[in-house]
Assembly symmetry: D2
Homo-oligomer: 292 residues x 4
């Protein structure tokens, strides 16, 4: 059965659309005391609304320039970055909903890059930092109706277990050649995002750290029969610990490590020497959520 109908007699119209500014690289230094703080962000703004005139008639009078969005991000960074990136996202969403004359919906995506104080003689330095791996993320969306949605997230978190992971008793068909294993390397680069329910009085920083710690802890605590099962365990554990969270989405690319055949060279390879490969890779994605 094939879908589809003919074009005759149907009009051509503008469908869903959005525009904005991406790649706004913003660094905010807090220097009120000798002990400086660094916030290092990549911000992206996307607006939806009634932009029909711009599209169909070349009338720009209701479009906020994307350059203005950039200016706005830097201008608001002065006063609105003292707390979490989620709250900065909220301030930007509020501003764009108000500033764009026909904006109905605004979305702000923020990625924060972590910096750790350089330690000298075991003591964290006051104004010198080294970048760490990992990303903290936030996505705030809001509508002209006042509804706000906050998703926190993380990316670039690469983790590995050198044992206590397998892949067995899976479905086999005529193209299946992979043998069962009950001891493999499990490695992935986590991307996670979770949505908060009631936004009143959330401590976004504490929650973010809590989710990250829980995710890492569950990754270590069980024999993993599949990425899917580990994904579900992590999602469930996060929702059990944090009643503030409605749902969590996890994306796990499976960074395969292939046991390198050494017996042909007279050496045994008992789970010790692996070839890491980037392509192809399994990709396991899923959401764990609360029932309505």
């Amino acid at each position: 059965m094939m879908s589809g109908k003919r074009a005759a007699g149907r009009e051509i119209v503008l469908g869903r659309n959005n525009y904005g500014k991406s790649g706004i690289r913003l660094v905010r230094i807090f220097r009120d005391s000798e002990r400086h703080e660094v916030v290092d962000l990549d911000v992206a703004v996307a607006l939806e609304g009634d932009f029909e005139a711009a599209h169909t008639r070349g009338d720009n009078s209701s479009l906020l320039a994307t350059d203005t969005m950039r200016n706005t991000a830097y201008a608001l960074a002065k006063d609105h970055l003292a707390s979490s990136i989620e709250e900065f996202g909220m301030a930007l969403v509020d501003r764009f909903l108000e500033a764009g004359p026909t904006v109905e919906r605004a979305r702000v995506d923020i990625t924060a890059f972590p910096w750790r104080r350089i330690e000298v003689g075991g003591k964290p330095h006051e104004h010198s930092f080294a970048r760490e791996a990992g990303e903290r993320r936030a996505a705030v969306t809001g509508g002209a109706d006042g509804v706000r949605r906050v998703e926190a997230g993380l990316g670039d978190l690469t983790m590995m277990k050198t044992t206590r992971s397998g892949w067995e008793k899976f479905f086999r068909d005529e193209y299946t050649t992979l043998p069962d294993t009950d001891d493999r390397i499990l490695a992935t680069v986590v991307t996670a995002s979770w949505e908060y329910g009631d936004l009143a009085s959330l401590d976004y920083d504490r929650l973010w750290t809590g989710v990250r710690d829980r995710l890492l802890a569950v990754f270590t605590d069980h024999y993993s029969p599949s990425m899917q099962n580990t994904l579900y365990r992590i999602g469930r554990a996060v929702l059990e610990e944090f009643g503030e969270i409605e749902r969590i989405h996890l994306s796990f690319p499976n960074k395969h490590h292939l046991l390198y055949g050494l017996s042909r060279f007279g050496t045994e390879n008992e789970g010790e020497v692996f070839q890491a490969t980037d392509e192809p890779y399994g990709l396991i994605e899923g959401t764990v959520e609360r029932t309505p």
Copy 2:
């Protein structure tokens, strides 16, 4: 107004999920005659269905290994790549719906990289090729109910107009500093995807080339008052020419070129010397479609 309700008394369940294999790099050579042909692909497979047992109980018995998906792509490439990538995608979707015991929906994304014959003495060579810029893409999705959906697309198409583009009379607020201009460089890297309606007897290759040519032609044929207007004009023109297409989605990152200030060095810069920048960039996205 904030959304959200409390977690108490609600169950935690598996939500939407999918898994598959990405980054399957597949090259198919047709060598039936002296004049070889090359098809160079990156294939990604994603399956949805009832994978509850795997997630919640570690029972893999209904999971097709992602390694099997890889084998399947290579195996089917032998016989199913003679025609378009859309038809290869269809063959893979059919296969995965049949092979995975609990699969309800399959999606195959294909990117094809173009190779042009090397010319020697003005004559195209029979088995030697050089890679060109650009990507052809296809996304085929199918359900257990037999419904198929085909989106064709293209990526990595970088285009530039050195005049006949401006950005004027836009909305100005307190953070707006950008002056109006009626002559700027307009440059973007196009990503486009379009969905076909009735799939019976489509000539995918001819259609793809037709859409690409139309897109390029419209880009050149008007004074562009905004990316939005150019996007709409392109979308409309494609739908007008190709009744087979239901809708087209276009994504236009605005690759800004800033006029470099040379007057301080005693030189006039009359639209001749520009600084190209990658960050930040405007991002304009929209769909043009037929009414139901």
Copy 3:
């Protein structure tokens, strides 16, 4: 035998050093007539000389700011880009040798990105362009003594032969498992650079196109027993045709294509279905040159 001597009694001094500006993204439009021309460059400047005071005493008085180098590149682009990128490089080298009070040696590396006119109805458009694959490169170095050295080059040229290439009768040791083959895919991404001898009255554009064409033609014209032999044949042919060239350096990463085993699925794979891999890759590099 191990090299090395003890540190005691030896002084610590500044050794070889250089500084400059990289990533200067410069687009020059020629718009004297309706038919515009585009030159799209990435420029890098590196200076050597007596910068001892800056390093050891924090005395910046003889340092040209790298920001000044950027300004200089844009300023000179107005008048010095009408001819080849080699001549633009020469103008910049001359300028930096003159401008930096203690500069003894300047090097300018330029990468040019190609744009082709969009064709509409078979006719090349006057001010609309699409980017092509490939890079043209130039490196100009000069000293305070007036000596200039010009290397032209190319990069990002991906080429493939689907037959007439093999790898046989190579040296085998205890770790050798690769079988001989007399029919494989040969694919590489060429980086080439060649140095001109006498710089008087060279037509850099004509020479560049000539070398590129020769390289491509030789790639097609023989059975390749190894990357090394193909490299040497290309180098030799270029030097034979162009007496202006002193030496050519070629770098050939071997982009491996592995025949995918299909017999286990009841299908023969007679050189038709390949897995492309990025890691690991063979890397073959060599210079072909004239005797002194």
Copy 4:
């Protein structure tokens, strides 16, 4: 004055050349006890020697296949990775000098990616790890004459000072527009390599950590009048502390942070809000070494 002489009467010959395998991604797990260790490497091999016959006559009989080099790296990883990557590099150099019949010189470049144990309840886990930023590097070269050279190094170390850095009293010419500043952000991604003198009984791991710590400490400990001065201070301090080191090379791309102009929006920006930029970037490179 231009260099150069004519080609007439001069022969065309093979010049310097090398070949090898790059991108060998090798993971070694030590699992002798419950507490596993991970070594995660990217290895590149390059050989020089008499490969004339292969280049000029297509005679492969003295070439070691690059595939054999890959096998060798994995095979030797079993027994030779228990100590430092420098010693693994040495073992590979020794092997390739012995195995390749006409090899005169071998170079092995190794990049090691760091993994830190995941902490659960404040306790480092036995077999679960998260990747950190940074790279440790080693380059070992050796000749048929028995001479060995060991360079240790590091990469991907991004560091930033939020104050105590300036750029003042530099040389100004007609293209100079940058104002002096005595308070800016200084940020860079360090690449460093240092060569050891006498190789007898070096503790490579302790030395590597020592150099890294010293580099970070010096970065923090002074007002930086220029990247050049900070580079020299770091190099000097490393050589002063570690008599085992002959010379150190440092490469500092200057990751510029531009103060964003907020006064036009009625806000003061007292060194608090910056735009991070990637292009263009200053690049400061230098060697600090001992006199002979």
